[in-house]
């Protein structure tokens, strides 16, 4: 059980020497065991926000805390699922799931058992001995979720995890994610482009403005659980979706294209993702 708390968080990146503010004074709280969805236009800092909570990036200003404890780099209390599965192609599925445990020195038998249990949980146990290259995209993302759960995180962060899947598969994965959430009881933060996905999953939907990202609305989703495919036809569902859409439309950015808005930050994020090496002169080569 873990409460996530962000207080006045700002973050900018240096793009060609000039600072580009990506997030500005973002503050919110996710109660323990709740599901928060973050929506916003491209370039609104959704992925940056997730990395701040995961401790992969430090904020320029403000605090990020899980259970009142500031997050640290690669925080153990947090499991992160990326937009792409990011599996190690040379490792079998089961060894991919066991990887986080291997890094902290769990014995080979124990981590195998744990990995098999997790694969069972996400419904990929039959492919434990396959290589990631032999699985479909959806299967791979399930494996990635199992891996994120390997160290029993109290917080599960997902960065547009199902955006590569077709609409129907995506709905099925959303239902499965909710089942998983109910079984693990973890606090979940999911970044998504899809308003229906956000409403279906979340207790509260956070709407971000275009860059620099600010919280422009917090929309509660008072739809009962368990949620099923019938939830999509609930009048409340349509109503809440419309509210979110209005907030998003009201903040419509003037970028030439979504891609132009997202690209510079994404590049910086990818570079920031690499470890800092022993290079006093920087990597300008």
């Amino acid at each position: 059980m873990a409460t996530i708390k962000l207080h006045n968080v700002s973050r900018s990146f240096a793009i060609d020497g000039a600072p580009l503010p990506v997030l500005q004074d973002v503050g919110f709280e996710v109660p323990s065991g709740a599901v928060l969805a973050i929506v916003g236009p491209n370039g609104s800092g959704k992925s940056t926000l997730l990395r701040l909570i995961a401790g992969l990036l430090p904020p320029d200003r403000g605090q990020v805390a899980v259970d009142s404890q500031p997050v640290s780099e690669g925080d153990q209390r947090v499991g992160l699922v990326f937009q792409e599965p990011r599996l190690l192609p040379w490792r079998k599925v089961v060894d991919n799931v066991a990887f986080p445990l291997e890094l902290v020195g769990v014995s080979s038998n124990e981590r195998r058992q744990r990995a098999m249990a997790l694969l069972d949980l996400v419904g990929v146990a039959a492919f434990a001995g396959a290589y990631p290259g032999q699985l479909s995209g959806g299967m791979r993302q399930r494996v990635a979720i199992a891996r994120a759960l390997a160290r029993d995180p109290q917080v599960l962060l997902l960065d547009e995890p199902f955006s590569a899947l077709d609409a129907l598969t995506r709905e099925r994965f959303d239902s499965e994610l909710l089942e998983l959430w109910q079984r693990t009881g973890s606090t979940v933060v999911i970044v998504t482009h899809s308003i229906p996905e956000a409403v279906f999953l979340a207790d509260e939907v956070l709407v971000l403005s275009p860059r620099p990202g600010r919280v422009i609305a917090r929309v509660p989703v008072p739809i009962g659980r368990p949620r099923t495919t019938a939830t999509y036809e609930d009048p409340a569902f349509a109503h809440i979706s419309a509210t979110i859409r209005r907030h998003l439309a009201g903040s419509e950015a003037d970028y030439a294209s979504d891609e132009a808005a997202a690209a510079p930050v994404r590049d910086v994020l990818e570079r920031a993702g690499a470890p800092a090496w022993f290079d006093p002169f920087g990597s300008d080569g």
Partner: protein, 261 residues
């Protein structure tokens, strides 16, 4: 990719073997034809059956064995030393711009200097024993493996590195579990080139000064013994070692990388 593969692969290799054998037969026949038509004496170009006979004889009477073992030892150590240091240096070059700026000119210069010029110097400094040959071998192996490692490490997906950080992997764990496995296909590609070059390194080193080894045996057969069929038999042995090394790397590639690629 499918379960039926082993059978299919077996048949494919069986099928692939036939043209290889035919090509070898054609090569030997052409050789024989050149000898017959040209009417060359044995000391210019011995006939294939003569070389084959000398080859079997040299191995049977124990002429070849100690020399082959000496050369193999040089190649083995040279490959080990050269490839290991090349992976370490290649990694450093990939990850540090400073290191690349400082060291790459010397590495390229060392590669551009003909090994034939360096070999006598190294023998002068290190003596005619094993050490000089290992250094010569290692030098010649170094470049292709170092460049392959550098390119391989540079092309590791930075998203995998971020995954490593999100799992709080240590620097060494990132190297061992993420970067080296991801770069392994390229490193092995460099090793393919390096393994065959190692043979050249050993022979060149022996020519620069040695009292054993296949290179030494070639000199001996050509000079004081004037046993040209033995010289050719030694050549065949050297070529076979090169092919065997190359195949060993290919098999290692298949075992390490082939399963998931």
């Amino acid at each position: 990719m499918t379960a039926g593969l082993p059978v299919a692969r077996g048949r494919r290799i069986g099928g692939a073997l036939l043209p290889v054998l035919l090509a070898a037969m054609f090569f030997v026949l052409a050789w024989k034809a050149v000898v017959l038509i040209g009417g060359y004496p044995t000391f210019i170009l011995p006939a294939p059956e003569l070389v084959a006979g000398r080859f079997v004889e040299a191995w049977a009477e124990g002429t070849m064995t100690p020399h082959a073992l000496a050369t193999l030892t040089e190649i083995g150590w040279g490959l080990l030393v050269g490839a290991t240091s090349a992976v370490a240096v290649g990694y450093l070059l990939a990850r540090s711009t400073l290191a690349e700026r400082l060291f790459s000119p010397y590495i390229v210069a060392a590669q551009a200097t003909p090994i034939l010029v360096l070999a006598p110097l190294l023998v002068l400094w290190l003596g005619t024993g094993l050490a000089a040959k290992v250094v010569i071998c290692a030098l010649i192996v170094f470049f292709p493996v170092a460049v392959a490692t550098m390119v391989g490490i540079r092309s590791v997906d930075s998203r995998l590195l971020e995954l490593g950080r999100s799992l709080r992997a240590t620097r060494w764990q990132i190297v061992r579990y993420l970067e080296l496995p991801a770069a392994l296909p390229q490193i092995l590609g460099g090793l393919r080139v390096g393994a065959t070059l190692a043979v050249i390194g050993a022979i060149v080193g022996e020519w620069a000064g040695a009292d054993r080894g296949l290179g030494y045996l070639i000199n001996l057969a050509r000079g004081s013994l004037f046993d040209i069929p033995l010289m050719f038999a030694t050549l065949v042995t050297i070529a076979a070692i090169g092919v065997a090394l190359y195949l060993a790397v290919v098999l290692a590639e298949r075992a390490l990388v082939g399963t998931w690629r």
